[in-house]
Amino acid sequence: MNTTADTSCTTADLEQVLGDAHDRDNPLGFRAVLEADERGEILPEGEKALGSFGFNAEFVPRRLGGRLVDIERLMLMMRTLSRRDPTLALGYGFTSYISGSAMWTSGNENQQRRMADILLGGGKTAAGYNELAHGNDFTRTDLAATTHGDRILINGRKQIVNNFGRADAVVLLARTGEGPGNRSHSHLFVDLVDGPADRVDRDVRYPTVGLRGCLIGGAEFTDYPVPADAPIGPVGGAMETVLRAFQTTRAVLPGMMVGTSDTLLRTVTRFALDRKLYGRRVAALPHARATLVGAFLDLLAGDCLSTVACRALHVLPGQTSVLTAANKYLVPKVLHRSSHALGTVLGANSYLRDGTYGIFQKFARDLPAITFAHANASVCQATMLPQLPRLAATSWLRAPRPPKDLFELDAPLGDIDYGALELTSRGADHLTAMLSHPGTRAQLPDAAARLVELLLTDLADLRERCLALPPSEHSVVAGRAGFALADRYAQLAMAASCLGIWQHNQHSDDAFLREADWLTGALHRIAARLGHDLGALPDSTEQRLFDELIFREKNHEGFDLGRPQLSLA
């Protein structure tokens, strides 16, 4: 097996493969993407191109011959894809990585190699968790695996599972013990190519509102035999594996969707520049401008939190159980909201299924799926909530600042170590120390410093409220007040991420990133969401941000932190 895999393929190479999005003759351009969506298909040329690119290698650790190094790289690769077509990103697909993450976390060498071989050979693996009857309530999973002599027999159903119908193998969450407890389930690695096809029915396809081309399927197993070595990790250990592995997927998905938001923002920016009303361009109307700038800021802030969540898996792996949940909770929500606001600017064109701006409605339909698929917003809040009192007592207003590698965009991260991820943070939260540390605030320009002080009073207030939270408010049955605390925590984590990214990239050659306008604007929006009545952004800040937005659109640069060059025919 090749152990010195070629990781030199970059997001720029991938963008090159995808070609000019707006070129109507590009078989991977928006026109083709829209047509495939109308047909309910994954863009066929896209799947071919990704096959040649060996995209599956991105899901496989280098050690096993793939190109998966750090999680930030995976996120940026997925973002590049989802800027072009979220259906392709998921459909080709990201669920091969979701199933892989459980395998790389807990599988033995032999199992890991088998899965790596499937993926590196261009195959697909499905992540078989969901059962319609139980949804997020994994511990009630019914699909059963029972031992009979030297074999295990699988009985039961999985539903709403991406690519199940065409997967070569599936990682199944199966019941291996009685009762709803946390030791009653195991992951099984199930070969679907060599197994008996007559014992599994996977013909079903669930039509969806967004991601319409994705082959969302399911399966029903009847006495389906698998060898005794099918369990991944110790029998009864599935919940532990999930709590580690899914930290990585919760880090990637929101960061991936930043690419989808990029296209939504770009489409509306182009519209605002093209369309004239009342003798001026829509871009010159104050409301439209403010909306565009707001969406740009939300995108940057979303990128900050999701980038920090990815990097934290490497830099602060003990602290990511809460942070990745905050990321998966807040970033999709913020991006989803901004897509609504952008839709109001696009007006009737946001409703048309073809034409110059037709891509908007498709992406706007695709985007929300990420909010509820793979741990929805409330589940993520319920994951953060029980840990908040201990974070409050142990870390808030007193923890040391995190290492600068957490934020430095050019600092290398090395290979992801799934074993280093912890199930709980044990009260440690260094990220929010960015808000409380006087050294950080001292470097800020006035406008941003005042916002940070305001957010710091929020953190102090949140701390008191979390310390006073009765234990009955920590669980899934917590009331609105408890969930509000989790929301506020996530907002503050986003603010701290923005601050850290700004402070620790002052060596960047991107002047926009070094300047504080985006930081002030991003913090302003976060503070507004926290209920502070701040009115509008200062004119000069808005102007600077608007100019940058237009500059990037005209120069075909991404709107995210890395401002990647986009392909041009």
Binding site: H287, P386, L397, R398, T424, A528, G535
Partner: protein, 141 residues
């Protein structure tokens, strides 16, 4: 201290206010509106840092005191009296969900000053089993 906010308002951008706080605190206090002039005193940063970490009681911990503490903790969580908790009953069956089971490890660490696996309550699923485990961990220190 209450200052006018007129200096910071222009309302030219209704968008900023389009989505007010999605989850306001039900009892939300008025927040400082004078953010331009607000200064955080060091006392806010450093005072009032009460911690919940108890004094080290582990040396005195007997099987009985561990059991009593655990029972009270679980009863407090479930909002029942300690007498309602069967020491040999499965915690998940009496309503201790998986997430709280994870945080129980934090309570144990804070109370006894030892490090325990996050999955403590998964592997020792009753009060009696937890008691035996914690007690032996305390003895092993």
């Amino acid at each position: 201290m209450r200052a006018s906010t007129s200096a910071v308002r222009s309302y030219r951008s209704p968008d900023v206010k389009a989505y007010p706080n999605p989850y306001p605190y039900p009892d939300q206090k008025p927040l400082p509106t004078n953010f331009h002039t607000l200064h955080i005193s060091r006392s806010l940063l450093m005072s009032d840092l009460t911690t919940d970490i108890s004094t080290d009681v582990s040396t005195a911990a007997t099987v009985e005191t561990v059991r009593t503490w655990l029972t009270e903790r679980v009863a407090y969580f479930l909002d029942v009296t300690p007498q309602d908790i069967a020491h040999d009953g499965l915690l998940v069956e009496i309503g201790l969900d998986s997430v709280y089971a994870l945080t129980l490890c934090g309570d144990v660490e804070d109370e006894y000053g030892i490090l325990v696996e996050a999955t403590l309550a998964w592997d020792h699923p009753t009060i009696d089993a937890l008691t035996a485990h914690i007690h032996s961990e305390l003895g092993a220190r």
